[in-house]
Amino acid sequence: MLTLTRTFRRVIGRDGDSAPAKARASARTPVLETPPIDIAPNDPILAYFHAGSGAVAIDDLQLDSPAVRALRSAGVKLVVPLISQGELIGLLNLGRRLSDQDYSTDDRRLLEKLAAQASPAVRVAQLVREQEAEVRARERISQELRIAQLIQQQFLPKTLPNLPGWQIAAFYRAAAEVGGDFYDFIDLPGGKIGLVVGDVTGHGVPAALVMATTRSVLRSEAPRLGSPSKLLERVNDFLHADIPQNMFVTCLYAVLEPATGRLTYANAGHDLPFVRRGNDVVELRATGMPLGALPGMHYDEKEATLGPGDVMVLHSDGLAEAHDPQRQMYGFPRMRKLIGELGTGHELIDGLLESLHAFTGPAWEQEDDITLVTLSRSSVHGETEHVLVEFEESSAPGNERRIMDRVASSVRDIGLDPKRFERLKTAVSEAAMNAIEHGNRLDVELPVHVRVSVTDDELLIRIVDNGGGRDIPEPETPDLEAKLQGLQKPRGWGLFLIKNMVDDMRVHTTNMHHSIELVMKLAAKKGADDGHD
């Protein structure tokens, strides 16, 4: 009932004239305003107003009521309750008549009629105002979410490390409320690399800020402190001093020596990473309290070795703890089983996400952030893949040329003959154009991911867009006659060109992504270099 006095708190001067005259008079004489009168929900006067007995003469009331005293001292003589659908929604407060006479029965009847007609209109106005306030509140919340998202994205790695003999892939998708997931790669002395995956309790801006702080401390201390357990101890003490109450951070930190596959790791209460060796999937176990919860904590430090062909999967609970419509949890066992069956890198990530999608159903609203990072070691010698460049471009029209130029400059030194170099450029620009226009439908928010790598005998260019779930049409053999007769549209040469420019073309579509891999043979294999008929 707090809207009561806010809506109607005017003491209306009244001289008993006809309505038009009154309107003119009130335009000339300043309207007196009472100060806002708050009526407590337990004030006895409310019973009078609710009784529906019409206008209430304040001076006649014999009530011990703070509201009555307030109304009297404001000079209010008559109060007409505004009732809409049985609910008291406002008061029409009137001061003394200008003639100083009492309000007549006719006056009261007129006022009551007016109140009965005004009430629904006032109620509608109130509802509109409430709704506007709600919209503003919602806008403020979504603004906060945007800020949280911005912070989060700002601190996630923009590029993946380039480690010869290793393949790294990462996926992060924020929940609607933006949780505090993060992952990071830290360059360490001696060619080692620090791998981080973590989760801040809570959501929104506070979680994003704690995530940013944790990341900064990890980054600044990691190169100095070689040991993962020492690093987590240090970060824990730092965070404990500053973190808001009831917030903490789970975090797994591992140091990889790429040359040997040796891994040292420590864990602050985070989900255990999986490692696939052949057909086996094991968890890397290490115990420790989450960061920031208690001071002076110690963390186990463990070791493992990732052999050729092994795959490590770092993750947050967003995937394993997702629920289906029957509230069943996706669970770690399901995840573990799937990791044993799927491929590596993006294929593995997409496979997990597809399985999640199938499990939760299409109507699922993501409950928490999902983070997946995979680290795969190339299987055997001869398959060592060296990444020349890996980058993303936005899906703006014309960016296929930027992609073409960046790929071209990355392969300039690998000794491709000039003809094949030109063909590669055309193939890359066509594939990139398809990714931008068809895969990502020119949505500049969507990136085209490009990875250029060489093995012993092949140059591989992989171009990935977000156009998953749709089939890629078979390259159409262009029929110029048909096109000239208007039977085929003049365009549609892209895939045909790509296929003819490179030695091999592999396409792969998942629910999420569509990727095309262009292959140029590097070894001087006779017949492979000039066949374009």
Partner: protein
């Protein structure tokens, strides 16, 4: 970064022949400059020579555009010829069999001579 730009100039060689010099890119975005140059051909023109000496980049969108141009030229019973293509784009013309509909010549002089034949 390189921005996609196409410039075209149309030069009349004689009553029946014009040369359209294309510089920069030929992509789907080149429609306006290319068709504007073609628009200068007029009714009496019997042959259009596309000089690609200044070509930096052509993609499938540009090829589609050439097909559109070819359709229009055919309708007007005009011959379409090309010159100044580098090896790479010559190969693409062969692949797409555009070379069967657009006469390809090394130099502008050779193309103009062929136009009169």
């Amino acid at each position: 970064m390189t921005t996609a730009t196409t410039t075209t100039t149309a030069d009349r060689i004689d009553e029946w022949t014009i040369v359209i010099r294309v510089r920069g890119d030929v992509t789907a975005a080149s429609e306006q400059p290319l068709m504007a140059a073609y628009g200068q051909a007029g009714d009496k023109t019997r042959a259009i020579v596309l000089d690609f000496t200044g070509l930096d980049y052509m993609n499938s969108g540009g090829i589609g555009l050439l097909v559109t141009l070819l359709v229009r030229a055919n309708r007007q019973k005009q011959k379409l010829l090309a010159c100044g293509l580098n090896e790479h784009y010559k190969q693409i013309f062969e692949l797409t069999r555009l070379d069967e509909a657009i006469g390809i010549h090394d130099t502008e002089a050779a193309a103009v001579a062929a136009a009169k034949a």
